[in-house]
């Protein structure tokens, strides 16, 4: 299909195809057999390309330029090893199977709120109209990711105060984004809800110190850190509590609290769970509007009833 003129793009693609074909490696001499790299450079008595001649140098520079173009345009790296004077292609980042799997994920899950890197990046060209899952990423997640990756402390506004934090991990819980890290001001580990972060009315996070200025403790347990159910992190004495739940509300109750079913009949189930945050537990029980009743122990049952009595009777 050539019109006789050398097309650099075509030559560079041939170099890529050849590098892939000669995966064990190839020499500059080998390259001269690829169309576009022919040379009239002198050869030695053995017929090998003589190095150091002007023609040799011209060819070497041409291959070097094309190596650079391949790397910049396609991410294909053909590395030259001066020890054995051999070019070798670098292994791919994703195997074809891995790439297909992640493209399928990108087609299924539309992630909104992050730069997609431009058309051409893996997963950027999928038709997201057919996505099954739409995930919204909070605008400061990318900034905090940078900070975590470089171990750079940050500062941000929260509840009218500036917080200075070593960020450790990001995550979601019940459709909200959170940051876990060390709060230098409180000298304690803290969880911050990202939609509450603001400064002067804007959601901003700024660097507060140099990169590499903290380490994430080896003991840090990200899974536990993002279990944000108050019954997991609450500081009230743990009480094993039984709640009778109407049958139609059992799934919703377990979705809200977890727990295990210890008894069940046609009309209701009794669910047992550990409670570590009484106020939150009471409020969540009240959301079931009488369809979930605490049956034991008595003081936990009284928690809800006494509260309602106080509310109902207070003037």
């Amino acid at each position: 299909m050539s019109d006789g003129r050398e097309k650099p793009a075509e030559r560079i693609l041939r170099l890529a195809a050849y590098a892939n074909h000669a995966s064990a490696g190839f020499t500059l001499d080998d390259v001269t057999s690829v169309p576009g790299y022919e040379t009239n450079a002198p050869r030695d008595d053995m017929g090998d390309l003589a190095s150091g001649t002007p023609e040799w140098e011209t060819l070497r520079k041409k291959v070097s330029r094309d190596q650079t173009d391949l790397a910049q345009a396609w991410g294909i790296h053909v590395d030259y090893n001066p020890v054995d004077a051999v070019y070798r292609i670098r292994p791919p980042f994703f195997t074809p199977e891995e790439r297909r799997a992640i493209i399928a994920a990108a087609a299924t899950v539309d992630v909104e709120g992050l730069d997609d890197g431009g058309l051409g990046e893996v997963g950027s060209a999928v038709d997201d109209h057919a996505a099954q899952v739409i995930v919204s990423v909070h605008p400061i997640v990318a900034r905090l990711r940078d900070a975590i990756a470089t171990r750079t402390p940050v500062q941000f506004g929260l509840n009218g105060r500036v917080r200075h934090v070593a960020p450790w991990a990001l995550g979601t819980w019940r459709n909200r984004w959170y940051l876990v890290g060390r709060d230098f001001d409180a000298d304690a580990d803290r969880v911050f809800r990202l939609d509450r972060i603001e400064a002067n009315g804007e959601r901003t996070v700024e660097s507060w110190g140099a990169a590499g200025s903290y380490v994430i403790p080896e003991s840090f347990d990200a899974e536990a850190a993002f279990d944000l159910d108050p019954n997991s992190w609450g500081h009230d004495p743990c009480r094993t509590t039984r709640v009778r739940v109407e049958a139609d509300h059992v799934a919703a109750f377990i979705g809200e609290f977890g727990g295990i079913i210890v008894d069940r009949d046609e009309s209701s189930a009794t669910i047992e769970l550990d409670v570590r945050h009484y106020e939150s537990f009471r409020n969540r029980i009240l959301a079931f509007r009488g369809r979930a009743i605490v049956v034991s122990p008595p003081d936990m049952a009284a928690l809800t009833v006494d509260h309602l009595v106080a509310i109902a009777g207070a003037e």
Partner: protein
């Protein structure tokens, strides 16, 4: 460094070949419009990719079967996107973060082993270089609803509306199943007619495939937002700041002033009368309801009603 012209040519090729791989095929005219060149220019740029073939000695080397431009001017990846197969560069950190989130969600939704996805996710974690935990909801009735959608069958379910005491029986043609705002929804018309509605799948008490068949429409939009503005209810209160954290979400809090004694004056906004009643009975007895004044009566009435239901059970 590549000349600007050559760089742009490669960029166009990269983008168009990505479209062909990730959408399975792309019309040449559509691809040309997306990358901003004429069809003829794109055709010329694609030529070396489509017909790449050369001989080394007696050996034929080529990738001429990798991509195909058919007689309808549709570009497909016929065998494999060999240029991407050779790409050693990781995605940019932001692109990796986006792919990692997609991969983690996909892992959570898939019921079968996914070794290739797992390996890809592990590599992306290294690029992202920050611990990321995603909580993914998979309601128990999801699989049934998805199956009904795939098979073009109605789905019967018992549906417990937000705040309702008893579930209602429904049968719906599931036009689209999607997750957004952290919840799974099915969009569809009830079999006895009416406009399409959205049902939260986690509010289904039970679900089964129905007997009625239908053809799912080719394209159903996912709503940008459910406009619940008219249902918003706001109450202004003075309460201990520490009590705010225990109030149940979703809830919008607007701080009016710090009262200086550990209490704050805030406006609390919820959606719907039931959530308003719930909010009111969750407030501590010492919380001062500032406005509207009738909220105090509503709080007492709701508490008495709940006490009565507690006693009757």
């Amino acid at each position: 460094m590549a000349s600007p012209g050559k760089q742009r040519d490669f960029e166009i090729l990269r983008e168009v070949l990505a479209l062909a791989e990730e959408r399975r095929w792309v019309a040449l005219a559509d691809a040309a419009a997306i990358v901003g060149v004429t069809v003829e220019r794109l055709r010329a740029l694609l030529e070396p990719v489509l017909f790449l073939e050369f001989r080394i000695g007696g050996e034929l080397i080529g990738q001429e079967r990798a991509f195909l431009l058919n007689e309808r001017d549709e570009l497909t990846v016929d065998e494999h996107h060999w240029l991407r197969d050779l790409c050693a560069d990781p995605p940019s950190p932001d692109a990796a973060l986006r792919l990692l989130i997609a991969g983690l969600e996909m892992q959570a939704l898939t019921m079968v082993p996914t070794p290739d996805l797992d390996h890809a996710v592990a590599k992306l974690r290294d690029v992202v270089a920050a611990e990321l935990r995603m909580q993914v909801e998979t309601p128990t009735c999801l699989a049934v609803v998805q199956k009904a959608h795939r098979e073009g069958r109605s789905v019967r379910f018992r549906y417990l509306k937000d705040g309702a005491s008893k579930p209602a029986d429904r049968e719906v043609f599931p036009d689209r199943v999607f997750a957004k705002w952290g919840h799974w929804y099915v969009t569809g018309r009830e079999v006895d007619g009416g406009d399409p509605k959205h049902f939260r799948i986690d509010r289904m008490v039970s679900a089964e495939i129905g007997d009625l068949q239908f053809d799912p429409p080719p394209h159903v939009d996912v709503p940008d937002w459910f406009d619940l503005h008219q249902l918003e209810r706001t109450v202004r209160v003075r309460l201990r700041r520490s009590s705010l954290a225990s109030l149940r979400q979703p809830l919008r809090v607007k701080e009016i002033q710090d009262l200086g004694d550990g209490r704050v004056e805030v406006e609390l906004t919820v959606t719907g009368d039931r959530r308003l009643e719930h909010l009111l009975v969750c407030l501590d007895p010492d919380t001062e309801i500032v406005a509207p004044s009738e909220m105090r009566d509503l709080q007492r009435q709701t508490a008495r009603r709940l006490l009565a239901s507690n006693e009757s059970s």
